[in-house]
Assembly symmetry: C2
């Protein structure tokens, strides 16, 4: 599976493409940052980020796009721009019929480092190791984009398995209810005979 | 001038088109709401809102788009969706070469009711009066979109006038500095003679 990870941002939007191979091997197909100057008008910046990220989608043809889920804990001005970019990225993916998955920063950290509270350095170290890169990806936004993509790859089979288990459980519950209903009906008819 | 006002939102995105006529007359060309079901996937909802708002842009061909500036004071989940939609609307406008202006809720309220703390009822009452509508626009998001457009229309000439006044003041300051420099030079030469 080929995954495009996007760490949304107005000033620096991290992008990274990975592909899962055999066993647990994952290859990094590309990583970078789409930048827009803070002196530009907001609408122009949004358009520039859209064009940049769409360029990555069209060049690498991912099967799924993983985007960081934005929380409003950070600086108000920053978080608004980040949310706007995340919306634009999700829109671009949806228009290409690509599924979009959102992962929280702590889920990403936990997936690749074992701790939801890992710092930026730890994330960069782990992503460099996991993807077998010669040097750590820079800036942090680029590393985060790759981490998002890897997180998606590793979480996806798990959520698929959960969905499968839930479907099985639901089927069992339906069977059980049907058997109970049958039993009740039988009891009803025999009960009639007993009277 | 024809203005499209957009009150961004995922569940209900208000849209309203107005046009300024002679004197202070403003006509309402259309008002409505783009809705997306909360049960749909986020990316699909964003795409549906984008298509809806773009439909309004293409049908009414506004010269400018006025969008509510989002703050992260509200509910975290809601504000993220709102910010994502505002980004998508700004992108759609920029791709049509339309200028985008952001106005804060309090600026909108102040522009049409005289108070930045006006409540929803007041805004609806005033927008109905200003546009000479037969009945108040519903829901509140639709009324807010029209209020945004009117706010833009009334603020735009003001900010143009402020810019003009500032340019004039800068020119006067330059003239004044030049005259001071001339005077100083003259004083310098006559001073030499006096010695």
């Amino acid at each position: 599976m080929r995954v495009l990870g996007v760490d949304p941002g107005l000033t620096r939007c991290g992008v990274g493409v990975i592909e899962s191979g055999r066993a647990r091997e994952i290859a990094c197909l590309g990583v970078g940052v789409v930048r827009t100057p803070s002196t530009d008008e907001l609408a122009d910046r949004l358009m520039a980020v859209a064009e940049g990220v769409e360029g990555w989608m069209d060049a690498h043809r991912p099967e799924v796009v993983a985007v960081e889920r934005v929380f409003s804990q950070q600086n108000v001005r920053t978080v608004m721009g980040t949310a706007q970019v995340s919306g634009i990225v999700a829109l671009a993916a949806a228009r290409r019929d690509l599924p979009v998955a959102f992962h929280t920063p702590s889920a990403v950290k936990a997936a690749i480092s074992g701790s939801g509270r890992a710092d930026k350095r730890q994330v960069t170290t782990m992503i460099t190791k996991i993807l077998g890169l010669e040097s750590p990806p820079k800036p942090a936004d680029a590393a985060d984009a790759l981490a998002l993509a890897v997180c998606h790859l590793w979480r996806a089979p798990m959520s698929d398995r959960i969905a499968e288990a839930e479907a099985k459980a639901a089927q069992l519950a339906r069977n059980h209810r049907a058997r109970l209903a049958d039993a009740a009906r039988e009891r009803g008819s025999t009960g009639g005979q007993q009277r």
